[in-house]
């Protein structure tokens, strides 16, 4: 039995997604910027998908900019805001647990004279809105705090932080790549100006994402080119992937979150009963429904992951984007783990297809390989 518990890294594409992409590739291969019949047919696919995504977010279709994924969406939000602000943009605030595509994008602006403040988190990985308020100045143009953390699943208080920013006329960006369609997030209710999502975390294709840009938000493009997406993102649109993105959203089962939460809790219960000294990384309550991150008492995660892989069980030590880097996870360091403790941490992330039998089998294998009882 194959047990895939690395759904925070990426998910298996749904059959409906593969069919939508295949159909689109065969029949709507025109460039959606072309005026002939095939081009307009491709543009219809794009606009229908834009409508689907907008409805899922509570946005208007014109507020959706298709990108190549979460990393580009985050870069566009952070750099695009700063570049559009020009000389006015002197200060950006991000949390200490952001995805590298937010952190690196923000820090890259320092050479342009932008000051970047990193707001720390508590031992569960949660940002305190009051701590954000304390670092805001009259020069602050953007605050970026993610919705759900990619490693420990912490659900950040984005409503409060957004309200804080809105009250001071500061733009608020939220990276919702992990939480999109798993946790409620409606841009009509949450005061967010920019929101990053992608498809491959929800059984959609890789290489496609979007940035929600609230109407009236000044944003400079990352790329020069043909001016697609209303001048905000040049480049020929990836129509099959866009069709697959919409198909993935349409296939979402809103009841799946509670099932994933129950199975995730069952997995944690099995592990903590059988492995003395095991600890939960991240929050107990304000946590993404499919995320479990644990610190093992003695076993290093990398050798354990190799043994699990050999047994057909796939998980990870942390963020997929950081897997190739030998440095300890900045997220785990930010919640107070020592570098030695970070290498004993294991991320187990479920999908709506994960079954109870899989969770129980994974728990037994981890207990056996990690030396539990």
């Amino acid at each position: 039995m194959e047990i895939y518990l690395d759904n925070a890294a990426t998910t298996q594409p749904a059959t409906a997604v593969l069919l939508a992409m295949s159909e689109c590739s065969r029949r709507c291969y025109g460039n959606p910027a072309s005026w002939h019949r095939l081009g307009v047919e491709a543009a219809k696919v794009v606009e229908r998908s834009r409508q689907t995504l907008a409805e899922a977010l509570g946005a208007e279709p014109d507020e959706i900019v298709f990108t190549s994924g979460g990393t580009e969406s985050n870069n566009l939000a952070v750099k695009g805001t700063a570049w559009a602000a020009g000389r006015r943009g002197k200060h950006i605030v991000i949390s200490a647990v952001e995805h590298p595509s937010v952190t690196a994008a923000a820090l890259s602006l320092e050479k342009l004279g932008v000051r970047v403040s990193l707001v720390g988190v508590d031992s569960e990985g949660l940002v305190d809105p009051a701590a954000v308020a304390r670092v805001l100045t009259s020069a602050t143009i953007l605050v970026s705090v993610m919705h759900a953390n990619h490693e420990i699943g912490a659900l950040e208080p984005v409503q409060e932080i957004g309200r804080l920013c809105r009250g001071r006329g500061i733009l608020f960006h939220c990276d919702a790549c992990q939480s999109f369609t798993k946790e409620p997030l409606d841009v009509a209710k949450v005061p967010v100006d920019l929101l990053s999502v992608n498809a491959h975390k929800l059984h959609g294709p890789k290489g496609i994402g979007a940035l929600y840009v609230r109407k009236g938000t000044a944003l400079a493009p990352l790329f020069d080119g043909g001016g697609q997406e209303g001048g905000r993102r040049s480049g020929t649109l990836n129509t099959p992937a866009i069709a697959g993105f919409a198909a993935a959203i349409e296939a979402v089962d809103l009841r799946a979150a509670s099932v994933m939460r129950r199975l995730r809790d069952r997995l944690w219960d099995s592990l903590r009963r059988a492995v003395p000294g095991i600890r939960l990384n991240g929050p107990r309550k304000a946590r993404l429904c499919n995320n479990l991150n644990v610190m093992l008492p003695e076993t290093e995660s990398k050798p354990l992951l190799r043994k699990l892989s050999a047994a057909g069980i796939y998980a990870s030590a942390g963020a997929a984007c950081s897997s190739a880097k030998p440095e300890p996870s900045p997220v785990l360091l930010a919640i107070g783990l020592s570098p030695q403790e970070t290498v004993r941490s294991l991320r187990l992330s479920l999908s709506r297809w994960t079954t109870q039998a899989q969770v129980d089998a994974a728990a037994r294998a981890i207990v056996r390989l990690a030396g539990g009882s």
């Binding site: 910027a33 005026w35 019949r37 081009g39 307009v40 219809k44 794009v46 229908r48």
Partner: protein, 79 residues
């Protein structure tokens, strides 16, 4: 008596997304129904009506209103 026309504001929507959105709305209408579309001057008024006609719909009227246009389209019988 014929049904009143549905309306669709496509001002500010770039080409050819405006044509695509118009076609998606027309597809949801019964044959023979009317759609009144607001379009920007320039490329949109030059390109959207022909794109609709190419798909079998009938552009009944084009009226300049202020800096833009209002186009009345009838859904084709076999479109």
């Amino acid at each position: 008596m014929s049904r009143p026309a549905e309306t669709l504001d496509l001002t500010g929507v770039p080409c050819p997304a405006n044509a695509a959105r118009a076609l998606l709305v027309i597809e949801g209408l019964p044959a023979g129904a009317f759609l009144r579309i607001s379009l920007d001057d320039g490329e949109p008024i030059q390109n959207v009506p022909p794109a609709l006609e190419e798909q079998g719909h009938v552009v009944v009227d084009k009226v300049r209103i202020g800096t833009g246009w209002q186009v009345l389209v009838k859904k084709g019988e076999e479109a």
